[in-house]
């Protein structure tokens, strides 16, 4: 693989890496015929992000040497991020960036041609890997809202940096509400303040959701994509469904698209005041009304009943063509198992890292997509791990 990025696009690429770095510790880099894909998933697998840079984004793009198969690789996010660490410097001094992946040297070579003829060459070690692919389809989400990133960016600005989750919903008058999410058990000092931002419908380019719907998701990852979208001056669309189902945040222009898939809390709004009026609560029945009871293994976790399905496949093209949402275990029959899917992404369960402190613990696994491998109900392996690590 060899590609050449020039001018302002180097910063766009750097900015994308920065926003991916908010999610995962590893970066999956995959040259495809329709562009270069950068993907990551967080350690608890509750968030997945991918960017696809179209061949036209590059001055030169070659997915694979002629007659050879395209390589894909996995590198440490940290080391790739180091290449673009200071975006200000990248913008100021980098004129060209050449990325090449060479199987023989086993190095991902990133070369930055800077001002004054200075040349930085990073030879990054990588691991071969399977393709990382989340299975999701924005078209299957019943609710959509789309606004310039700036609108949403300004709306999340007042939230304290330490705030973990935010609730996004539609309030009365079809105003879009963003509110800091409080855990019930949160200590009183944190609980003392709720921040709520309300944005009028007119600021949205698309608002396809009825009053009363709401989802709660992690703010950190959302901010990551927002800052990318803001710097690229793009619109951000949010596709979501019932609470607990993954929400899909997407940006797109002619040269690139980006998708962040974030887990949502399965009870979006039980503990906080209603978004609008008591009637709205009626319109949006609390979760128990439509949620499946959480599986026993995860009885302590209030959001573990739904999962983002994600899998790794040997054949990336095949997986990219399978847009399906893996539903909650209770609704498993809807899953369309990918024939190629394997449970080969074993790291999450073997990783020594501490378990994520938040409740977005559960998420997708190849195993739930491959019923042949998985027992009915949530994978017992997962349960053991989260208990063992906890």
């Amino acid at each position: 693989m060899k590609c050449l990025v020039t001018g302002g696009n180097v910063k766009v690429l750097g900015k994308a890496v920065h926003s991916l770095s908010r999610i995962g510790d590893e970066l999956y880099l995959e040259p495809l015929e329709d562009g270069l894909s950068l993907r990551t998933v967080n350690s608890s697998r509750s968030a997945y992000a991918c960017f696809l840079f179209a061949p036209l984004f590059f001055q030169q793009y070659q997915a694979a040497a002629p007659g050879q198969e395209a390589l894909r690789c996995k590198i440490l996010m940290k080391s790739f991020l180091a290449v673009f660490r200071s975006l200000a410097t990248v913008e100021k001094s980098v004129e060209r960036c050449c990325i090449s992946l060479n199987g023989r040297s086993s190095r991902l070579v990133v070369q930055l041609h800077c001002r004054y003829g200075v040349r930085k060459t990073h030879n990054l070690s990588f691991q071969d890997c399977e393709s990382l692919q989340a299975v999701f389809d924005p078209a299957l989400c019943s609710h959509v809202l789309r606004a310039p990133a700036r609108v949403l960016g300004e709306a999340v600005l007042p939230f304290p940096p330490a705030l973990a989750e935010v609730t996004l919903g539609i309030g009365c008058g079809r105003r879009v509400i963003l509110r800091s999410y409080q855990e019930e058990e949160a200590d009183s000092t944190v609980k003392a303040m709720v921040t709520e931002m309300s944005i009028g419908e007119e600021d949205f380019q698309q608002l396809q959701a009825q009053e009363g719907v709401a989802i709660t998701f992690c703010l950190k990852e959302f901010r990551g994509l927002l800052s990318f979208a803001e710097s690229a001056n793009l619109s951000l669309s949010v596709h979501f469904d019932a609470p607990g189902r993954p929400a899909i945040f997407a940006v797109k222009d002619s040269l690139l698209d980006g998708h962040f898939v974030l887990a949502t809390l399965s009870e979006s709004d039980l503990h906080s005041p209603a978004l609008c009026s008591p009637e709205l609560r009626r319109l949006a029945p609390p979760l128990q009304a439509h949620g499946t009871p959480p599986p026993d293994d995860f009885a302590n976790d209030d959001i573990d009943s739904y999962m983002i399905a994600m899998e790794t496949t040997v054949d990336s093209e095949a997986s990219r063509a399978v847009p399906s949402i893996a539903l909650s275990p209770g609704l498993r029959p809807f899953c369309s198992p990918d024939p190629y899917s394997e449970d080969n992404e074993a790291e999450p369960s073997t990783e020594p890292g501490t378990p994520p402190p938040k409740k977005f613990r559960s998420l997708f696994f190849g195993s739930i997509l491959a019923p042949a491998h998985s027992p009915p109900g949530p994978s017992p392996v997962l349960a053991e791990d989260s208990e063992g690590e906890g």
Binding site: K78, A82, G117, R119, S125
Partner: protein
């Protein structure tokens, strides 16, 4: 005993007296070598040299020439003492390290001699602070015997070109490898970290390159942890001279322009980490 000496004394009683209208002209330079707690100060009629060393491998010298001071008197041929540099810097910035614009802190520094404390009188807006810092037995400093006649390769760069490189050094690499050569790659900084290696190449005709005098290809490695502190001097400087001698010893000289436009120099010496056999061509 020395702490109780009366404050008002004849100037002749002091072996060193120095006054400065703007204390930052001193404190900034000292910060550039502040990577260890203690420093040795040598004063002669030409000025003060402050030396900091680490691991018997690296030495930093800050030169504050007599002309920087408004008053500079040394009674003896040379005055030497060791002092806690952290404390000295704390005292020098006792009125705050980033003063309000338009206000200057003035300094008068007196040293009575061996065994006496270093006295600092700092004045800002009519407020005077007196600091007495105990001095210590001077220690022998390293002699790197870095002689300009033995210099093989010498490069003068605009500091701007190195600043980013040093601030982004891959600290997982144990060494920084410096290649200087009359041929490609001319001047190269390399690190070998956990994530892989990286090289930074400066062509000899770059606009950053003020002068390029390389006679022989040299590849030397220096402990990155020892060189990293020189970033402090680098960020303050406008130009840096990089020299290596026939033993592979490295000299980095930083030209620092102070707030009054005067030039001071800070110098780092570092010995190479190991012999790289293929370096001798």
């Amino acid at each position: 005993m020395p702490l109780l000496t009366p404050q008002i004394q004849d100037e002749n009683d002091y072996s060193l007296v120095a006054s400065l209208d703007n204390v930052r002209n001193l404190s900034t330079i000292l910060k550039a070598i502040h990577f260890r707690e203690h420093a040795t100060c040598f004063a002669t009629k030409n000025g003060i040299k402050v030396t900091v060393e680490n691991a018997k491998c690296v030495q930093a010298n800050a030169f504050i020439q007599a002309g920087i001071f408004q008053e500079f008197i040394v009674q003896e041929e040379s005055v030497t003492f060791r002092i806690n540099l952290t404390v000295l810097l704390d005292c020098l910035s006792i009125f705050g390290s980033s003063p309000m614009p338009g206000t200057l802190t003035a300094l008068r520094m007196c040293y009575q001699g061996y065994g006496y404390p270093l006295m600092l009188f700092l004045e800002e807006g009519g407020v005077v602070t007196v600091c007495k810092i105990n001095t210590q037995e001077p220690e022998e400093t390293l002699d790197f015997d870095f002689c300009s006649t033995n210099v093989i390769n010498k490069i003068i760069l605009q500091s701007e070109g190195l600043r980013e490189a040093f601030s982004e050094l891959d600290m997982t690499s144990e060494v920084l490898q410096i290649t200087m050569s009359p041929d490609k790659p001319y001047f190269r900084l390399s690190t070998f970290g956990n994530a892989g290696s990286s090289h930074l190449d400066y062509p000899k005709d770059s606009d950053l390159m003020e002068s390029f005098n390389c006679n022989q290809t040299q590849v030397n490695r220096y402990k990155i942890a020892l060189l990293k502190p020189s970033t402090k001097a680098l960020v303050l400087s406008c130009k840096v001279s990089i020299r290596t001698d026939n033993r592979g010893f490295l000299s980095l000289q930083y030209m620092i322009r102070n707030e009054d436009g005067q030039i001071c120099f800070v110098e780092y010496y570092c010995c190479p980490d190991e012999e790289v056999s293929e370096s001798e061509s």
